[in-house]
Symmetry: none
Subunit: 120 residues, 4 copies
């Protein structure tokens, strides 16, 4: 997994978001075992405690669960994962609108540019 951490926002939050993204995109498939806290932490180059927090929050949202000494499993509740997908998509849409707005494009402009993209 590729980790992209900027400061100015809590690292654990960014980790959580990126793991959630990985769950939705299939990096961590439904029902699969997640790497251990220590593995993930080493991979991302953060302290295990920080990664632990990210995973705890993820678990609180019902996206994974710990299975004792077996590690953590991605939830098998596909409805929950779909809900997450929609939430992330909403955010992508909003970021697109904001990005275009910063360039001086209105909401209508943003739609038009997107539609015109096909014809190229």
């Amino acid at each position: 997994m590729e980790w992209n951490l900027s400061d100015n926002r809590p690292i654990w939050l960014q980790l959580k978001e990126q793991i959630a993204h990985g769950i939705v995109t299939g990096t961590y498939p439904t029902g699969a075992r997640l790497p251990s806290v220590r593995e993930l932490a080493a991979d991302a180059g953060v302290n295990p405690n920080t990664m632990q927090r990210a995973l705890s929050e993820l678990e609180r949202d019902g996206l994974c669960r710990s299975v004792g000494t077996m590690g953590r499993m991605v939830t098998e509740d596909t409805e929950k994962i779909d809900a997450l997908r929609r939430t992330i998509a909403k955010d992508v849409v909003q970021q697109y609108i904001i990005g275009m707005a910063r360039l001086g494009y209105t909401y209508a402009d943003a739609i038009r540019e997107l539609e015109e993209y096909e014809h190229e």
Copy 2:
């Protein structure tokens, strides 16, 4: 200015892009003086040589020009800036499509989601 540097692409390129973005969005208005290389480098936390390269490339694209001891000025060629705006917008559009595709959305889905966003 807020610098957001990831490490898997050339730093100077990312710097160039972000300064270009600043020119388009008005952080560095048409005809205004850019901060010095050393200032920018210190602000971004990079080596002045790296920032120098970013600015040289920017100058090569005609988006700014050195005026001897006065530092660098943003171009006053609004047509050039508009072209840059359109280029960046194209990239934003493409990134949006890619982002949605990673979530499993087709091009048509991406348009629909964008159109539905207004109704919320």
Copy 3:
């Protein structure tokens, strides 16, 4: 405040419960300022991080909120506090039933003993 910590259960959980109890019983009145994390931690004889966690969880439940540099305030949502009171009461009732059951008393016995208590 009197802290009563047993091991074999997470300390942060016990801290949270006891602060919640304090909110319901008026030790920390509605809308009042809570002592700082460091004060509470020193008072309870635990690490500030542990107390921090207890308070974060309390905040997540909407029972208090941080007000930047002003510290934490107990919520003013009396309905929420009443709900907490009912939750704690339920637990007290259950503990009573369990306690009596361990002594060999049935549920009906437990009620009878309670009713007879008045006549003494």
Copy 4:
């Protein structure tokens, strides 16, 4: 046996109460041999002298007796044990009333809550 010692009351008293509780609930059955003072003290993590005091008081109440080199035996006087059961039950009842009172419940409230518990 699980020992739960708080520090604002004499340790020996708490030990005595908990052993008495164990006699009533069957952890130490009627007529059975109690563990040695040293065993009990080690288990509870207290000084043997403290445990010795707890057991002496218990013996003074007639709930157990030393049998020379054989250690201590729980009394076989079931009437005495039943009396103890009633005494402890009275205390449980009182603690329940106090606990509910701290939450703002009257004696009548405490009875009502207990009766309503069944219907859930």
